[in-house]
């Protein structure tokens, strides 16, 4: 394969002028192996170049999307909180506050495939199979009403698909439209008749409070608030949990590393807030689905009504396989496969979120 490419390039070189550089090569670096290039060179071009063989339909895509994407992007790709909206927005690009979605704005389907394949799901990137990516991309088109639900996207029909906004872009024309106007000697005296204030930032009042950076790590109020539920639930905490709470610093440190898989959605610690996942302070012994204001799945609401609690057994089972442990959870994470990771993360949550 390498040889073939080399021959091709050598042929190309014959007809083209080269020698851009004066300097000699230093001979640094080593030859990249074909399997190394294959592992890293996975970008997809607008004409579909780089796509692996495979296929997926919108129906399967909907399933995968619900499983792996919907916790941030919503079941219908409508976007949760500040996470990107992926569907709809057609005809809004000229409006005030245009809705720029995959359907209304993205010019190339290859970009969707490339991005989902390399960068998604958030916090678990590069974990999807090629067929799953085809299916998710097919679902993206379906959720934008661009194809029917039985639409199958594959490497063979990929290049045929033209996106809605494919012709909506112009290459940077500032040199013609702007620079010509603004490369002129500016006015220095009596440039305007009068000047009036037309808007003030204080009216919106959206500037962050600067004192935030100076606050002590743990405010008293936060400590009191955090301590209260733990005290109420003390009775349900098993002795095993107490042992766990006194876990070794090494285990806590290991848990901190494992928590990187979680922190895209969850926070723990004195400043923790609920984001796309609820905060995890005092998780052991906490009632399931009990963080005020967090939009839980039906499954969690049911567990809350039944008074279920995050005891050790429940937490271990959920961390190992969330979807099996609580059917219907919105959490897209597939679970921790190693027991030691589960032990470590519980130790970390106890240490950090107590």
């Amino acid at each position: 394969m390498l040889k073939c490419l080399k021959l091709f390039w050598a042929a190309a070189v014959l007809v083209l002028p080269v020698t851009v550089f004066a300097g000699d090569k230093l001979g640094l670096g080593r030859a990249a192996l074909p399997e190394e290039i294959a592992a890293w060179d996975v970008d997809i071009r607008p004409n579909g170049a780089g796509l692996p063989a495979g296929s997926g339909d919108a129906l399967y895509g909907e399933e995968v999307f619900a499983d792996k994407c919907a916790s941030c992007h919503g079941d219908f790709a409508e976007g949760v909180d500040n996470w990107p909206v992926l569907a709809g927005g057609f005809g809004t690009l000229g409006d005030k506050d245009p809705v720029k979605t995959v359907g209304s704005y993205w010019p190339y389907l290859s970009t969707v495939w490339d991005y989902v394949n390399r960068s998604m799901p958030f916090g678990e990137a590069q974990s999807l199979s090629a067929d799953e990516v085809y299916a998710i991309v097919a679902y993206m088109l379906y959720s934008n009403d661009l194809v029917d639900e039985d639409f199958v996207l594959s490497d063979t029909n990929f290049a045929e698909f033209e996106m809605h906004n494919a012709r909506g872009f112009v290459v940077d024309d500032r040199p013609e439209t702007e620079y010509a106007l603004w490369r002129a000697e500016p006015c220095m005296q009596d440039c305007k008749d009068r000047v009036e204030i037309t808007m003030r930032a204080s009216i919106l009042d959206v500037t962050p409070d600067e004192t935030a950076a100076e606050r002590p790590e743990k405010s008293e109020a936060a400590e009191v608030a955090a301590a209260a539920p733990a005290a109420e639930k003390e009775a349900v905490v098993s002795p095993a949990v107490v042992d766990e709470a006194a876990a070794s610093p090494e285990l806590v440190a290991a848990g901190k590393k494992v928590f990187r898989k979680c922190k895209a959605c969850h926070q723990v610690g004195p400043k923790a807030k609920s984001r796309s996942g609820p905060h995890l302070n005092n998780i052991l012994g906490r009632g399931i689905g009990t963080i005020d204001g967090f939009r839980y799945s039906k499954a969690f609401k049911k567990a809350a009504e039944a008074g279920q609690v995050w005891d050790m057994a429940q937490l271990v089972s959920f961390l190992a396989n969330p979807k099996k442990s609580i059917k219907g959870t919105k959490m897209s994470f597939s679970g921790l496969k190693k027991e030691k990771d589960i032990d470590a993360i519980i130790a970390y949550l106890n240490a950090e979120g107590a």
Binding site: A10, L16, P17, V18, V20, F21, G23, K25, L26, G27, L28, G29, A31, A32, E36, W40, D43, N82, L93, G94, D97, P98, Y105, W106, P107, T111, D114, Y115, R118, S119, F122, A125, Q126, F169, V170, D172, T177, E178, W182, R183, A184, M188, Q189, K192, E196, I197, T198, M199, R200, A201, L204, D205, V206, T207, P208, D209, E210, A213, R260, A264
Partner: protein
Amino acid sequence: MEVPILKFTPNPQSRRAFLRGSAATMAGIVTAQAASGTQADPLITEVQDWASVTGDGVDATPYGLPIKFESDVVRRSVPWLTASPISSINFTPIHALDGTITPQGCAFERHHSGAIELSKSDYRLMVNGLVDQPLVFSYADLERLPRENHVYFCECAANTGMEWAGAQLNGVQFTHGMIHNMEYTGVSLRSVLQEAGLAAAGDLQDKWVYVEGADASSNGRSIPMEKALDDVLVAFKANGEALRKEHGYPVRVVVPGWEGNMWVKWLRRIEVMDGPVESREETSKYTDVLEDGTARKWTWVMDAKSVITSPSPQAPIQHGPGALVITGLAWSGHGSIKRVDISKDGGRNWETARLSNHESNKALARFYLEMDWQGEEMLLQARAMDETGYVQPSKQQLRELRGENSVYHNNCIQTWHVKPTGEVENVEVS
């Protein structure tokens, strides 16, 4: 970056910087009287602790941090801007800095999947695509190429993006703080490509270089070959020391004068191509929607821009009438800043400020204008002119051509309303 324009909840409890400032002034009145010479100053007449007992020994802090009195000079974020701090941005405290170099520790951060820890020993850089010999470099290999040092600004294309629709954030840190300016040590991208050989690429005029990061976002941008061979750096040091984790340790790309998103951090791969990838960050993001709904793409260059950093909402005038130093920053992706004009009356009349550095090719220039302030209200503006003669436009000029729906590339003239109390507010003027 994603900048959802205007979904917020007013926060009446938030304390304004100025109030904090004036409270501090009140507390300092006794000292002020002493300092003004009406009463002997105990700081002079009495032996102070620091003049008597000894201070810290060497090695008290093997790597020094700013003294505690400077603890408010920190990066800050605007939580309502983004869904998660893992994919978000914060802002350089430019209101509290002077000179032109930004210390790494308070230089703004922008991550798409969080700042990763990648050691030099685990670092690999692949060069592939239309090259004679695809290569893998170690970190040590990169240090054996000829090194260069250059000072460049790095500005996020979304800097000032929240101000398109109107005066919104009351602090220059938030309106203009997605910028930093460092001295980079690195090797030219040209020299790295040369090792792999570009004969295979043939005519270089229509070729592109794709750069890609090693983090989970795998951020990648396509750079036209002409720029890649011109002044792009593969950098590993900033301000003399290793890049910080949050700025791409151990290796990032430096694309002088062009939008920050292209300065790919944790650089892992360079691919020579016959066209752009049209990645997510160069199609769905970092493109500019115009009034009619069409969008500009490949708007890489950051046009000339300036802003007064003091006085400003976070740096009010607290010293009362008399001598006042107006200062700020100016920069252009097209080259050096040649002139900065300042208006005190909202753009009716202008006077030329003093540049502290005349060489500022794609780097920050610092300007000063000294004045005698007698408590009059001012509408302060700065207007930069670069070496191409481009003059920084007003917000109205930008809106007339682009509408209000752009997010990126807002380089408009900023107005600060200075009140008789010395308080300063972000405003828009007619």
